[in-house]
C-alpha cells in the first residue's frame, strides 16, 4: 500500500491530512461564508449576521439596472456560447479528422485567447474596435465572447472526438451515408453528452467574463461588469446576494454536466 510506503509515522500522516484539509478550507470557505451573509439583515458585513432577511435579494430583483444587466449577460452568453459551440466544434472535428497541413499552427491560434493574458486581449480589441467604430456595440461584445469561449469548447470536444472511433464513421460512409447524414445520425448522437458539457462551460465562461467586457461594452452593463464597478466604488451588500445567486447557478450547471456525463459513463474526462 502506498500510504504505508511513503506515509511515514502516524504524526507525518496527521500533519499531511491537516495541510490537505487546510487547502480545501482555503479554497471553499470564502464561498461558503458568502451564502449566509447574503441573508443578513445588516448593512455592515459582520459575521455571523445579526439576523436574517431577504432584503438584499429584494434590492437586486427590484432594481431595473440589475435586471437589465442580467438580461444582457444572458443574451450575450446565449448567442456567443452557441456560436463558439458550432465554430469550435466544427474546428475540433476538422483538426482531429483532417489531414491538411498546418493543423498544429491552427490549433495553437484557436487556443491562444486562453494563453494570452486577458488584459491584452481586452486592450487589442478595444483599440481595434475603436478603429472600426464598433466600440460599445453588441456585435463586438458577442464576437469577443465567442473567441474567448472557443478554447473551452475545443478542449472538451477535442478529447471526445479523439476518443470516438473513426471507423464507425467510415462504416457509415461506406454504406453510402452522406457526410451530413453521418454527422446527424452517427457523430452527434455519440458526442451529445460532451457537446452539452462544452456548451455549459462556454455559457458560464461568457456569463462570468468581466475584463474584456469592462473594456469594450461601452454603455452595455452585464452582471459581472456592474458587479466589478460597484466593488471598486464601495462594498454594497447587494453584491453578496448576487454572488450567492452566481454560486447557485454554477453549482446547478456543473451538477447538470456531471449528471449527463456520468450517465454516459464519461465523467472522468470532464477535467476542466
Amino acid at each position: 500500500m502506498t500510504r504505508e510506503a511513503i506515509g511515514g509515522s502516524p504524526w507525518t500522516r496527521r500533519a499531511l491530512a491537516a495541510m490537505g484539509i487546510f487547502g480545501l478550507v482555503f479554497l471553499t470557505v470564502p464561498l461558503v461564508i458568502v451564502i449566509p451573509m447574503s441573508f443578513s439583515s445588516a448593512r455592515a458585513l459582520t459575521f455571523p449576521p445579526p439576523s436574517l432577511s431577504l432584503r438584499w435579494y429584494e434590492t437586486f430583483f427590484g432594481d431595473p439596472r440589475w435586471m437589465e444587466a442580467m438580461w444582457t449577460s444572458a443574451f450575450v452568453a446565449a448567442i456567443s456560447s452557441v456560436a463558439a459551440l458550432i465554430l469550435g466544434g466544427l474546428a475540433a472535428y476538422g483538426l482531429r479528422r483532417g489531414t491538411f497541413r498546418g493543423r498544429d499552427w491552427a490549433e495553437g491560434n484557436f487556443m491562444a485567447p486562453l494563453i494570452v493574458p486577458t488584459i491584452i486581449v481586452a486592450i487589442a480589441l478595444y483599440l481595434a474596435l475603436a478603429k472600426v467604430g464598433l466600440l460599445g456595440s453588441l456585435l463586438g461584445l458577442v464576437v469577443a465572447h465567442t473567441l474567448l469561449n472557443v478554447p473551452l469548447v475545443m478542449m472538451v470536444l477535442g478529447v471526445a472526438i479523439r476518443e470516438f472511433d473513426q471507423r464507425i464513421e467510415q462504416v457509415a460512409w461506406s454504406l453510402g451515408a452522406s457526410w451530413g447524414y453521418t454527422m446527424r445520425k452517427v457523430v452527434l448522437p455519440n458526442l451529445a453528452p460532451s457537446v452539452f458539457a462544452a456548451w455549459i462551460f462556454a455559457f458560464i465562461g461568457s456569463f462570468d467574463e468581466v475584463i474584456v467586457t469592462s473594456f469594450i461594452a461601452g454603455k452595455y452593463e452585464t452582471v459581472p461588469k456592474k458587479m466589478f464597478n460597484e466593488l471598486i466604488l464601495e462594498v454594497n451588500p447587494t453584491i453578496t446576494a448576487v454572488a450567492t445567486l452566481l454560486i447557485a447557478f454554477t453549482v446547478l450547471a456543473l451538477a447538470a454536466v456531471a449528471f449527463v456525463l456520468g450517465r454516459a459513463g464519461k465523467l472522468k474526462e470532464t477535467g476542466v
Binding site: T2, A5, G7, G8, T12, L16, G20, F22, G23, L24, F26, L27, T28, P30, L31, I33, L45, T46, F47, L87, A91, Y93, G94, L95, G98, F100, R101, A106, N109, F110, I115, V116, P117, T118, I119, I120, I123, A124, L125, Y126, L127, A128, K131, L147, F201, I204, D208, I211, F215, M227, F228, L231, I232, I239, T240, A243, L246, T250, L254, V272
Partner: protein, 276 residues
C-alpha cells in the same frame, strides 16, 4: 477516396479561422503596430524610451513580479500537500476533494475575490476569530494592501496547480514505491528520492502556469488592493481608460505578451515531460 487530399478537413476549420484572423489576430497585430509605428516616420522605439524614463512603470513592474512570485510560492506550499494528501484518499474521498477543487474553479472570479472582502474584513470571520482567541486586540487589516491581493490571487489560482499536479501524482505506479520500501528505504527517503522527483515536472509546469496567470491579473488587485496595489494590468487600464496614452499601453502590452509567451513555451516543454 480523397484521404490523401491536402485540404481534407480544412473546410471544418475555415469559418473559425476567418473569425479568429479578423477578430483576434488582426487586433493583436494592430496593437503591435501602435507600439512600434509612428505616422510618417515608420518604425520607432520612442514609446519604449518613454517607459524607461518614468520610474512609476518600473515600480509597477517590480510590484507585479514580486506579488506574482509570492502568490506562486504560496500556491506551491498549499497545493503540493493538498494534491499529495488527495492521492492517498480512498475513491470516495478523492471524488469529494476533487469536487471541492473543481467547483471554485468554475465560480466567477469576482465572486471569489469578493468573498475575501467578506471573510477578511474588519468584522469578518478571520478578524472575529483572531480577536475572540485573544491573538489580537484590534482588527488586522488584510484588505486594500499587498497581503490581501496575494491571498486573493493564491486562492483564485490554486486549482490551476492542484488539478494537473494531482493528475500526475495518481499516474505514479504504487509498485515503484513498494519496490523501494521492500529494499529497505525508509518513507522519508522514498518520498524525496523516488516520489518527489517524479512529480517535479508537473509541479514546475503548474507553478509556471500560475506565474503567467499572475502577471496578467487584473480583477483581484483592483478589488482587494483598493487602488493601492497597482499591477501591470491596472496600469494598462489607466493608460487606456483614464489618461488615454494608447501607444504607451500598446508598448507595455507588447512586453507583457512577449514575456508571457516565452514562459508559456517553457511551460509547454515541462508539461510534455510531465505527461510523457
Amino acid at each position: 477516396m480523397t484521404r490523401t487530399n491536402r485540404l481534407e478537413g480544412f473546410g471544418f476549420i475555415a469559418p473559425l479561422l476567418v473569425l479568429m484572423v479578423v477578430a483576434f489576430n488582426a487586433p493583436i497585430v494592430y496593437m503591435l503596430g501602435l507600439a512600434f509605428w509612428e505616422k510618417g516616420r515608420g518604425f520607432t522605439l520612442e514609446h519604449y524610451e518613454g517607459l524607461a524614463e518614468a520610474p512609476v512603470y518600473l515600480r509597477v513592474l517590480g510590484n507585479t513580479m514580486r506579488i506574482a512570485l509570492i502568490a506562486t510560492i504560496a500556491n506551491v506550499l498549499i497545493g503540493y500537500p493538498l494534491a499529495h494528501w488527495m492521492r492517498g484518499l480512498g475513491r470516495r474521498g478523492r471524488m469529494i476533494a476533487l469536487a471541492m477543487v473543481v467547483l471554485p474553479f468554475w465560480v466567477s472570479i469576482l465572486v471569489r475575490t469578493y468573498a475575501w472582502i467578506v471573510v477578511l474584513g474588519n468584522g469578518g470571520l478571520v478578524n472575529r476569530a483572531l480577536q475572540w482567541s485573544g491573538l489580537t486586540d484590534a482588527p488586522v487589516s488584510f484588505l486594500y494592501n499587498e497581503l490581501g491581493v496575494t491571498i486573493g490571487m493564491a486562492n483564485v489560482l490554486l486549482p490551476f496547480l492542484v488539478l494537473p499536479l494531482f493528475a500526475a501524482m495518481i499516474r505514479i505506479d504504487d509498485r515503484l514505491l513498494q519496490a523501494a520500501a521492500s529494499l529497505g528505504a525508509p518513507p522519508r527517503t522514498i518520498f524525496w528520492k523516488v516520489y518527489f522527483p517524479l512529480t517535479l515536472p508537473a509541479l514546475a509546469a503548474g507553478a509556471l502556469l500560475v506565474f503567467i496567470l499572475c502577471l496578467g491579473f487584473y480583477v483581484t488587485p483592483a478589488i482587494l488592493g483598493g487602488g493601492r496595489v497597482p499591477m501591470i494590468s491596472n496600469l494598462l487600464d489607466t493608460l487606456i481608460n483614464q489618461i488615454p496614452r494608447w501607444e504607451q499601453a500598446s508598448a507595455i502590452s507588447t512586453i507583457l505578451l512577449i514575456v508571457t509567451l516565452a514562459i508559456f513555451a517553457a511551460y509547454r516543454r515541462l508539461d510534455r515531460k510531465a505527461s510523457a
